[in-house]
């Protein structure tokens, strides 16, 4: 991995997708320390990560289950 100012976007996207191994993530963070003008872009790309709303779900799942006694 050789992150630089020409290819950083690809690595920011891979970071957001959690497709980098730990050592590669460290390289991205080190790159950001030396390129502070790109921090905002890194943050905005990571802001695109959606979080599931765990309050949304099926209240009753019994209609999906199999009860062999009833077959």
């Amino acid at each position: 991995m050789n992150i630089n100012r020409n290819n950083y976007e690809e690595y920011f996207l891979l970071y957001a997708d959690n497709e980098l191994i730990d050592s590669e993530k460290v390289e991205v963070i080190m790159f950001l320390k030396n390129n502070k003008d790109l921090e905002k872009e890194f943050v905005m790309i990571n802001n695109t990560i959606s979080k599931p709303d765990i309050s949304v779900g099926l209240a009753d799942k019994s209609f999906l289950k199999i009860f062999s006694g009833y077959l």
């Binding site: 695109t48 599931p52 949304v56």
Partner: protein, 161 residues
């Protein structure tokens, strides 16, 4: 897969599949139908599906059922206030979350599905490729394009994707 393992799958994964489908379809009844059809298919094929693969099998079936449904009904509309209509008791979303939700519905169905499979379920590119029948490189390219579109919307929401 035993009856108990199947019922455990319902307990463990039904909400995940439902959330994924509901976020795409924006229609609770249709989402329930897709979830039900997916579990029915898992039960029918229980002898062929390893228990370890049951979650990705469910997402694979649900994804394709959902795409079929979208193509048949064309029910998906750009309803920016969708989530607020579903959960009226929830606290107001942060501005970024609200914008991100708007931006998600400006993506194509495929792009949105890739983002949700990645972000909601944490699937790898390889796993998403298997679920969606896309190539790994397509998944990566489509997902990256989607993130760039989302980022551009977050930076400047008046820009239409």
């Amino acid at each position: 897969m035993t009856e108990k393992e199947f019922n455990d799958c319902v307990t463990l994964y039904a909400d995940n599949v439902y959330r994924f489908i509901l976020k795409n379809l924006k229609h609770e009844e249709d989402a329930r139908d897709v979830v039900q059809a997916s579990f029915e298919k898992l039960w029918i094929n229980r002898e062929k599906v390893d228990n370890d693969r049951s979650k990705s099998y469910l997402f694979t079936v649900a994804y394709h059922q959902m795409i079929d449904l979208i193509r048949k009904n064309k029910r998906v509309k750009l309803e920016e206030d969708f989530s607020s209509s579903l959960q009226t008791t929830r606290e107001p979303q942060s501005e970024i979350k609200k914008l991100l939700n708007e931006a998600l519905y400006r993506l194509s169905e495929t792009q949105r599905s890739l983002v949700l499979l990645k972000d909601y379920e944490g699937y790898s590119y390889d796993e998403i490729a298997e679920i969606t029948s896309l190539s790994i490189s397509q998944v990566k390219v489509y997902l990256h394009r989607a993130r760039i579109q989302l980022k551009n919307y977050l930076v400047k929401p008046e820009n239409v994707i």
